[in-house]
Structures are given as C-alpha cells and as structure tokens.
Symmetry: none
DNA sequence: TATGAATGAGAGTTCATTCAT
DNA sequence: TATGAATGAACTCTCATTCAT
C-alpha cells in the first residue's frame, strides 16, 4: 500500500518538475517514466491518463498553498504588522512551491485546458479573505483607508514576485550570479520589503 | 513578391494567436495551416521549422514593444509626470500586444526552449534605460530617492499587470462581466493609477 | 472446491456472451473480469490465457449441441416423421445456444485461429450420422431418393437458419418488431416448417 | 492522382483480404501496411482511421454486389427460368466476392460496430425486389403459389451457400481435396442446382 | 515557387500476462 | 489459492518534416 503510494508520489513529484520546466505538452510520459524510473504503462495505470496526472498534481498542490489565518493574524499585532506577516507568508509559499507556480502560470495562460482555473480561484479567494480581514481591521484602527479593491491589492503583492521569477535569468545578473539560494534570498531581503512598502502606500 | 510576404505575415499573425491561446507545443502546424488557409508544407518551406517560426514571431514583436524616449520624456514636465507617461505607455504596449505577451510569458517559463530570452532582455534593458533616466532626473530634482534598484522598480510596474492578465478570468468577475474592452478599460482606469501611486511611493 | 468451479463457470458464461456480442479480439480480459466481478489476473490464472479460455468454452459447448439418436428416431415413426423431429431438435439446439453459435461462426471465418474447427467437425459429423441413418431408412422405405450427399442436405437444414440469425435485424422488421422471443417463435412457426418442406423436396 | 488512387485501392484490397481472414480487430494497421508495402501512417493519412477504412471497403463492395434486373429477367423466359438465372447470378456474386462476404458476416455478428448493417440491408432489399418481381410473374403465370414471404425464400437461397463457405474445410473433404477452384466448381455444379430445386419446391 | 504525397519518429494508451506476496 | 502491482509489447494515431514534381 505505502509502496504503491510512494511510487505515485514519486511520479507526481518528477512530473511536476518536468511540467514546470518544459511545459505539460512538451513533457512526454516516456520522460516522466524515465525520470521516475518506472514503466511507462504505470502513468495510465495509476492516473488514468497524462491529463488526469496533471489534474491530480494541481489538486494536491492547491491544498499546500492555502494560508491559515491562525498563522497570520495575531491579537497583539496591529494590522500593519499582520499585513507584513501575510505578505511574507504568501511569498514564502511561492518560494517553497516555485515549480508548481510555474506550472500554474503556464496553465492559466492556456485557454483550452481542462483545468479551467476554477479550483485555483477558490484557493485564491480563500487567501484573499484573510487579507480582507486584515485590511478591515486596519481601517477600523485608522491605519488604512480603503482605496482600491482587495483583488487589486493582491495584484501588487503577487505581481512583482511573478515578474521576478518569470524574468529569473534577467534578474540573476542584477542580484548575484548563479545559485537559486541567492536568488531566493534576494527576494526575501530586497523584494519583499518593497512589496510591503508598496502595499501599505496603496492603503494609506 | 508582396504576395509571398503577405502569406508569411498571415502565417505569423495566425500562429501568434494560436500559440498564445494553446501554447507552442499544443499548436500543430496543421492548425496553423488551416487557420492561415495555406498548405502544411508552407510553414517548413517559409520558416524552415515550427521553432524558427516562433523565433521570427518573437523577434518581430520585440521591435514593436520598444519604447521611444522622445514619446515619454518632455522637457517641460517634471520627473513625476514623465514617470506617469512612461508607465502609461508601457502598459499600453502590453494591452496592444496581449497575445504576444502571453506567448512570451509561456516561453519564459520553459527552460529548454531555443529562445533564450536574450533578445527579449535587450529590449527590456532598452526600456529600463529610459526609466533609469527619468529616475535620475527625479533624484536630481529632489523628487525621488534611489531606494531599490531600477530592475526592482520595473517589477512593480509590470508585475501587477501580468498578475492581472494571468488571472483574467478571476478578475473579470471583479471588474465587469465579460468583454475584453471593459477589462482593458479597468486596467487603464483602475490598475494603472495604482501602479503609478505604488511606484512613486517606492521612490520617495 | 465448488466455489472455484462456480467462478470458472461464471467466467466462461460471461465470456461467451461478450465474445459473441463483440468478437473474441474486441473483448478484453478487463471486460470479462468486470462482467464476472473477478480480478483480471484470474483469467490467466484459471485458464492459462485468453485463447485457452476460448478453447475451453468451445469444447464445453460442443458437448451441449450433440444430438442423441434415442431422442430422434422412433420405431413407430416413418422416416419423414423422424426427419421432421431431427430438424426440429437441431434448430432447437441452435435457438438454445444462440450466443455460442454466433461465436462459432465468427471463429469459423477466421483462418489463423488456434481453434481449427476439427473438434466442431467431430460433433457435426456425429449429428450427420443420425441424419444419414434416417435417410437410409427412408430410402429403404421407398420414401426418399438419395440425390445430393448428406452433407449437402445438412446445408439446407442449417443454412437458412444461419442466414436468419446473421440478418436478425433485417428479418426483425419482417417478422415482428423487437423482442427476441417473437423472433424465435417466428423461426419455430414459419422457418422450420419451410426447412422441412425444402429438405424433403430434395430427397424426393 | 491515379498514383494515389492506385495506392488507396491497393490498401483496400489488401485490407479486405486480411480483415476477412483474421477479422477486423485482429488485423493491425502494421499488417496492412506491410501487405500493401506502404508506410503505416498512410492508412490514417488516406482514410482517417482504421474504422473509416473498413467503412469505405464495405461501402465500395456493397455497390459491386448489386444485381441488375436487365441481366436477370428476360421476356422470352418463363418465371422458373428467370428464378434460375437469379439464383445463379446471386451465388456468382458471392463466389466472386468471397472475402467481402466473409468480412460482412463477421461484422453482422458484432453488435457494437459502427457499421450497423443499414447500408447492407438496402442492397439486400434491392436484390430482393427483383426476386419479388419474378415470383409475382410466376404466380400470374400459374407456375408458383405464394407460400412463405420473399425474405424467407431468400434465406433458402443464400443460407445453404453461407453454410457451405462457413464450413469450407468440412466440405472440402466431401468435395475434392484442396483447391479453391474445385470448391467453387462444386458449388456451381452441385449446390446451386439443389438450391434451385429447393426454392422452387417452396413456391409450388 | 509552391504543393500534394509520403515518411519515420514518437505520441498516449491499452493489451494480455507475470510477479510478488 | 488468490490478487493487487507491475511490465513489455503492441496498439492506433498524429507529429513535424521532406520528397518529387
């Protein structure tokens, strides 16, 4: 049982990497089988089809990128501090699941895909609700003014990060040559503080 | 002569739409041939291969999205006004070339692609140089402080927009139901002013 | 013990139906396993292979379609009456084993099949021997003349019936709409009397 | 043009033989490609799919097995003579298209096939109409009585023949060992006269 | 220059069977 | 004895490309 589950998970892990690196269409099940060191028939055997494999990966990972209110909103913080935690946690989710977000963004561009984005939007809305709560508190505290809608605010949190990873090679030259670690550190140390600053400016 | 050029252009136009909608790999030359009402052999004949067709499309369009300093920096404006013009013009380029940017972002995610991004980065750097000049003037005028690097600033201009179009369906519900026109209008009327506000805040 | 035998029989029953409806090649062991509510591995386990399963089904059913002299030839009947009983009994066997005969005829067409027809021909010859006896008696009684060979006679008994079931849908419209029962009744009431009439005419 | 048509026809000819010998499902497009000395991709290229190839073969051959009234009914013949010509012509069509009829009978057994038999029944009905006309004349001439329906009569013409070819190996021993020619001769010389005799007996 | 015909390679999937327990 | 897991082989079909004219 667990043996089977191990292989299933292995296939999904390897597939996610390949899908994110080469795209779904450009990745063949033969490549997945080779990377996972399994027989090509196993993909159909376990998942039914390549498309179902994709769907299962997305469904799985959507659960992982959910934020939890208890980790973000603290009673002894003011709303600005909570907003800071929200942004840091959100970006951290992205950093920890870069491959998945790459895949997700590829898929979001494609119109014809079975994955319509609906399930992703549910998670997006869930996270947005927490942000909503923080901003509402901030307004009550007199710290924020409600200027743009929540969804627009969210674009200013996630957008700069997405732009960064989409242009990873471009920014690598700017940050430090080479390693992924230094790139992630640059995001945490330079990008995130500016995202926080920018976001607060929009709420003032 | 011009007849041939017409067909070449037609193929590129139709390909761009298909590539942006379905992705490069998922688009077959048969689909392109059908959409362009030409023989399948023509794509290889004209462009050498499907991959070369993609490269030519990208090379062509990169020229189109270049900004020109004379359209943006005016002597009788202060730097904040120029920055505003820069942002508006840049986003307008995006809006006018949505299909191309969709394709570009798909391709940027893919590691193995022949298209390395180099040529794109040249254009990106060209546009960045204009922004650089505006900010330098602003600092000289005492309006701006150089806090983050230019490249980071650029992420805050383009990022929110990218986030918007990637989640087009998500935001459609928020903006107005349906038409592409209303979506673009929302970008111009709501998103862009906030981008301007956010960017300036980072420079203060 | 009997439990195992039950499953074996179940598999054979379900297989016969599927083979006759879809053909041997077009029936997968997965379909059989599903229809029989057993594990896929069971077919190979019990029968060795799909082909052996087919052979066993045919071997089994060949026993069922054997006629017995004692049921057909009665001393107090004349040969014409015995011939009538022979034909009725033979066709009744067909009606009672429609699925099997469908399968048999499919297989007889195929040249390359392992099932060579030899075993079937043994049964066919067995039944023919009874017919032979009846006709011989008829000649002795002065009722029949031996015109065509026995085998040719048999073709005029079985042939019209085979033609009927092969064109079942065609004849359904002619007979009565729909049910299998009404179709079988038509065979018994209309076809069989004509077969008898035709056969006797050939022997006169 | 003709070159292409030649290959198309070659593929259909070879496919018909293979289908009739091994069955549709058991024949792979590789086997067809090899027998036709063409690339396997050609089957899809020319016919769309293996199934469409089958359909085209059936459609083609259905045209060939049509009888023409002018070849059968002559004014200076009586109805019995015309019936004799009808039977001879019909069986001759079968003999000339044995492979096709083998295939047809395989397909008629299968329920799930796309080929539903409808088109075949149209041809069957067409030929039946000619028989109908002959019998009607025969009744008018006082030669025949209308006993069973036309469709039943047809079963007594075609049935014995079908039974013969289905049990070809069985009857080979009876006729002459071996060659197809001697088998066909046996049908013409022995079977057909008996079919005529049997049919007339049913009409008296 | 232009194109219908043709091709080899590879795609995803399903097959009957065997393995390990 | 019984079965879920796993496999290699084969399946049909589509791919981008090239050939022949």
């Amino acid at each position: 049982m667990t043996h089977k589950e191990d292989k299933r998970e292995l296939i999904k892990d390897k597939s996610l990497i390949l899908f994110s690196e080469r795209g779904f269409e450009a990745t063949s099940i033969r490549q997945i089988a080779q990377a996972s060191n399994i027989n090509i028939a196993m993909i159909s055997y376990y998942f039914g089809s390549k498309e179902h494999l994709l769907e299962e990966i997305i469904k799985d990972k959507l659960g992982v990128i959910k934020l939890y209110e208890k980790d973000i909103i603290f009673n002894n913080n003011n709303s600005e501090q909570n907003l800071e935690i929200f942004i840091k946690n959100l970006i951290e989710k992205f950093i920890q699941n870069t491959a998945f977000y790459n895949l997700l963004h590829s898929e979001l561009v494609i119109k014809q895909r079975v994955f319509s984005g609906e399930t992703y939007y549910t998670v997006k809305q869930h996270n947005e609700a927490i942000l909503q709560k923080i901003i509402a508190s901030g307004i009550a505290e007199g710290l924020f003014r409600l200027t743009p809608t929540i969804s627009v605010i969210q674009a200013f949190i996630i957008g700069p990060y997405i732009n960064f990873i989409l242009n990873r090679r471009y920014y690598s030259n700017i940050a430090e040559p080479g390693t992924d670690d230094s790139f992630d550190r640059y995001i945490r140390d330079v990008l995130v503080p500016n995202i926080i600053k920018s976001t607060i400016s929009l709420l003032k």
